[in-house]
């Protein structure tokens, strides 16, 4: 394979991984918007979703769509329960306490996955049995195109939901001003609860995409979680469209670096890039540089 072909294939792969990062970035931004905290357990939510999917799929055998839907339904309920039990009491306290509690949740989920599913990595069965298509120098797996479509579709549906439904509007109002939203009759506690549930589902879709593209392991949660957060920062934290672009940039950048420099240093390069962006353009690449509060 020539260098150019390698580059092209890494680029395609990067876009696919980038979509998953974007979904996690959206989950980060959504929960941050309504509850004022970064949920460091987002990656673990994604991982739990992927493992749910794995187990249901092995029980149902073959009915992928149903398995994914059931896994996401489980994750929706799971997000609600976690918010209600672990975070409801904390919003009036110092934000750092919520942050610490999310680390507690992420640790619990990581060890639960280890206890329930064991330490060895697992893989999901292939979605399609068709072989790779070659488009000139680029070799495409049809499965990856499906995954890409699902990722992009999720983003579009989420965008429509947030902007064109009553519930989405109520959520945006809650995110902007909790007191104001409750004054106009929005049940803000319920809205916050639902954003955790929806955020978990979106993160879960990201996790399932990654699981189909690579495999499942207990370390995936921490890594894709931080990549998702890093994507949100790369694009512009809190801005959902910018976070989406951020995920793409990060996915492509780390895969190009992995292909050109070294696979082992992929994560080093990705995190290094984020720190550099934070240093040079803290508001993110795709947001006007005025919105970050500094001390």
């Amino acid at each position: 394979m020539s260098d150019l072909t390698l580059l092209a294939n890494q680029l395609v792969w990067g876009v696919l991984v980038g979509v998953s990062y974007s979904l996690l970035a959206i989950a980060f931004s959504l929960i941050f918007a309504t509850s004022g905290t970064v949920n460091f357990a987002t990656g673990e939510f994604a991982m739990v979703g992927a493992y749910f999917c794995y187990t249901i799929l092995s029980k149902l055998g073959g009915q992928v769509l149903l398995a994914v839907l059931l896994a996401l339904l489980g994750l929706f309920a799971f997000g609600m329960v976690v918010e209600r039990l672990a975070f409801r009491r904390l919003y009036k306290l110092d934000p750092i306490l919520i942050l610490i509690a999310t680390i507690g949740i992420s640790t619990m989920l990581k060890s639960l996955v280890l206890i329930v599913w064991g330490p060895y990595s697992k893989s999901l069965p292939p979605l399609l049995s068709t072989g790779p298509i070659s488009l000139g120098p680029i070799i495409l797996m049809p499965q990856n195109l499906v995954l890409l479509a699902v990722g992009l579709g999720t983003m579009i549906v989420f965008h429509l939901f947030m902007n064109y439904t009553r519930l989405g509007t109520a959520m945006r109002a809650t995110a902007q001003n909790v007191k104001g939203a409750s004054l106009v009759g929005i049940n803000t506690a319920r809205c916050v609860n639902l954003t955790w549930a929806i955020g978990s589902v979106i993160a879960g879709i990201g996790g399932i995409l990654i699981a189909f593209a690579y495999n499942l392991s207990i370390d995936m949660g921490g890594l894709i979680g931080m990549k998702g957060f890093a994507s949100a920062i790369t694009g512009g934290f809190g801005n959902i469209l910018a976070s989406t672009y951020g995920g793409m940039v990060l996915g492509v950048a780390e895969n190009l670096a992995g292909g050109l420099i070294s696979f082992y240093y992929k994560d080093v390069i990705a995190f290094g890039l984020v720190v550099l962006i934070l240093f040079l353009r803290p508001s993110g690449l795709f947001v006007a540089p005025t919105q970050v509060r500094k001390v």
Binding site: G36, T37, V38, F40, A86, R89, L90, K92, L93, D94, P95, I96, L97, I98, L99, I100, A101, I103, G104, I105, S106, T107, M108, L109, K110, S111, L112, L114, I115, N177, V178, K179, G222, M226, F229, A230, I233, F237, Y264, Y265, D267, V268, F271, G272, V274, V275, L278, F279, P282, V292, R293, K294, V295
Partner: protein, 325 residues
């Protein structure tokens, strides 16, 4: 007699004398001495973490990286470059501190959890380098045969020899942290932790103070790592993962984030428990996570506040900070 007991001037010499005598009583009891040594190492790390997370409320998710950098620095300088341990140790602390400044520069000015991301990323980079930079670090197999410290021709060998070295460093760490906590600087740092914008509005350079606190806390972590390398004589990337940061975090949370007596109590409890807890892996991780969540929900200022409430001394309610509307 009671007047003598109450004389504050005697506290320090009496305490020091007690610390010199106590290990003598434990001489020969290798297991107890080992526990004490572990305890003292943990005290140094936790107090460093307390300065960062407890006082200035900077959520470092990478404390283990500075601990690891200290350990590898001492290993490299003593084993590969032939330095004396006591020369390598301060270098290890300062290197960890210098890297903390570099890590802090991009993120200390921002509100929010950026700091946590950058420190996490840093720790991940450090861990990958420990594994991949085989020629220098020994890779995943670890770094063997780190020489034991020698002082004036005498080599430290048994647990008993180490305890005085560790007592000295931990004692300095406790004294430094207590002094900081009670000094105007420490109060300023607490204020920065609670309300950075108000402090900034009064003309204080908040970013500079955050970096300074991060520097001091990381120097302590680096020193503890260096001591660990000279004590264990073997280190590997396995000892420096995110799970260790979580372990430190759990200890600090149980202690109450900013309470020094609480942190010391919590370190003692966890060091005693840790040997039993390890047998329950991975349930011990679950328990740590659950502990963090429960404490945040029901006792956010930890054992420190519980003690204060029982004694009726200090404010035991969580401080609530006004969030933006």
């Amino acid at each position: 007699m009671s007047a003598i007991l109450r004389d504050r001037r005697l506290t320090l010499p009496a305490g020091a004398a007690l610390l010199v005598v106590l290990p003598l009583l434990l001489r020969g009891q290798e297991y107890l001495l080992r526990l004490c040594n572990e305890l003292l190492l943990n005290v140094v790390v936790i107090l460093g973490f307390l300065i960062i997370l407890g006082l200035t409320k900077q959520f470092s998710l990478g404390q283990v990286a500075f601990y690891g950098i200290g350990a590898y620095t001492v290993a490299l300088l003593t084993a590969s470059a032939g330095w004396n341990f006591f020369l390598a140790l301060p270098v290890a602390g300062l290197l960890a501190g210098a890297l903390a400044i570099l890590v802090g520069i991009p993120c200390v000015r921002f509100e929010g959890p950026w700091f946590a991301l950058v420190t996490f990323a840093f720790a991940e980079i450090v861990r990958i380098l420990m594994i991949r930079w085989k020629g220098v670090t020994g890779g995943a197999q670890g770094f063997y045969n780190i020489p034991r410290p020698t002082l004036g021709g005498v080599q430290l060998t048994g647990e008993f020899h180490y305890i005085y070295l560790f007592l000295l460093v931990a004692g300095v760490a406790v004294a430094l942290t207590v002094h900081l906590r009670l000094s105007p600087l420490g109060r300023l740092w607490l204020a920065i932790g609670d309300a950075p914008h108000m402090v900034a509005a009064m003309g204080t350079n908040v970013a500079l103070h955050r970096i300074l606190a991060f520097f001091i806390g990381s120097v302590l972590a680096g020193l503890a790592g260096g001591l660990f390398a000279g004590y264990a004589t073997f280190i590997s990337p396995e000892s420096f993962t995110i799970n260790h940061t979580i372990y430190f975090l759990t200890i600090l949370v149980v202690g109450g984030l900013e309470s020094i007596p609480g942190a010391l109590l919590s370190v003692a409890v966890f060091t005693l428990l840790s040997n039993y807890l390890l047998a329950f892996y991975p349930w011990d991780l679950l328990l740590q996570g659950l502990t963090i969540v429960l404490f945040m929900n029901f006792l956010p200022r930890g054992l420190g506040s519980l003690a204060a409430r029982l004694l009726g001394t200090a404010d035991s309610q969580p401080r609530t900070v006004a969030k933006k509307a």
